[in-house]
Point group: C2
Chain length 204, copies 2
DNA sequence: GAAGTTATTATACACTTGAATAATAGCGGC
DNA sequence: GCCGCTATTATTCAAGTGTATAATAACTTC
């Protein structure tokens, strides 16, 4: 009986593959379907390898969550250009693929549902949420200033909470039932809504 | 060795208890922590009984999801009074306890994360979502008419999507990190936002 | 090309899972 | 008070779980 042949993955690469495989499994089979064995199959390795890279399955899952948060916030934080463009892009990016797709929301929900159970995930979540909202708050602050309507931090905070809620809510709706909306409809609704909320035009 | 004593529950009651126990377990331990045995302990019965009331654990979980959706939409749909009061209450109810609490959002997220996996849950979700949004759309339609600003169904639809997103998003934020907000802050932000979105006053 | 290192596989283990089965305790009708 | 029905318990089962351990194949270094 001969062993399976294999190749040694370059530094750090296998770790990344395992995390990616974990996310694939969670989104396809749910948290409880993401077993060590299933994840290993997806990553093209055997189950034992997981424990060579991670102290436990739980730790691997926690790192996978970090990766999700990072991918959700990264694109949104990397907007560039003048304040108006940045705000516009922020909204559009969050409501179109690849940020807005059913895989993302499945992952997000799977982890959210564990926030109450697992303090480690709760901490990761909290950090991610605040980072996201603060990024939005800065964006709004710049935008309002550029439009000549300087707003107090308190005002910006309230706007950020509202717009964050709006964008998150539409994101979930779109991800879960994209077929209920026409192409670009969510973005268009979001733009119009933000304009109404701020009382300022975003699009010219 | 003697058997445990027990009492036969009245018609239908045990079923309800099992569903409630299922939800308790899901919110406390997550979907994968909600095992048949754990649920039975919570309900104060033995594990075997589950299969006497439900064809499978999956079926029980699906019925539990129906119960969640029902409890989330029921309160929101039962608003009464003039259109303005109803809209105001709809917003307030969804952003204060008992609708807005961490247990609710944990349950919601646990099921949402399975929507992609389980077609049965997907169908239940879709029905619930549409019912909720349609209720809101009717509310808005009445409200706009009462304010003398009759709107086309298309307009109402866009408003309903936006406000539904806003309320859902704030609901999630509030449930997950209620301590980040002052008392009543979310409701106040939501009211102000809806007023801005519609360009009409809700509160006098 | 031989030796040493370690990433990877293979196998085993103790435990949990959902489900099936058989025994029995509570309860209504007579 | 006994009988029959069935809700409930107790026990068992096969499959699946995360983890531990030992063997080994691939790569590095010299």
């Amino acid at each position: 009986m001969s062993r399976r042949s294999f190749h040694r993955a370059p530094e750090g690469e296998r770790r990344q593959e395992l995390i990616e495989a974990t996310l694939d499994c969670i989104s396809e089979f749910g948290l409880k379907g993401a077993t060590v064995r299933q994840i290993a199959v997806r990553a093209g390795v055997t189950a034992g390898l997981v424990r060579h890279y991670f102290e436990s399955k739980d730790q691997m899952v926690a790192e996978a969550y970090r990766a999700v948060i990072a991918s959700l916030t990264e694109k949104a934080k990397n907007v560039a250009g003048d304040p108006t463009t940045r705000l516009k892009d922020f909204i559009a990016i969050n409501l179109t693929e690849p940020v807005a797709d059913s895989r993302s929301v499945s992952l997000w929900a799977a982890f959210i549902s564990q926030v109450r159970v697992d303090p480690v995930l709760a901490e990761i979540h909290r950090e991610g949420y605040l980072a996201f909202r603060n990024a939005l708050q800065d964006l709004l602050s710049d935008f309002l200033a550029a439009k000549g309507r300087a707003a107090s931090p308190e005002e910006c905070r309230r706007y950020a909470i509202a717009i964050n809620g709006l964008v998150d809510g539409l994101w979930v709706e779109g991800c879960l039932a994209g077929d209920l909306f026409r192409d670009g409809e969510l973005v268009s609704i979001a733009m119009a809504s933000v304009e109404a909320l701020l009382g300022l035009q975003i699009e010219e």
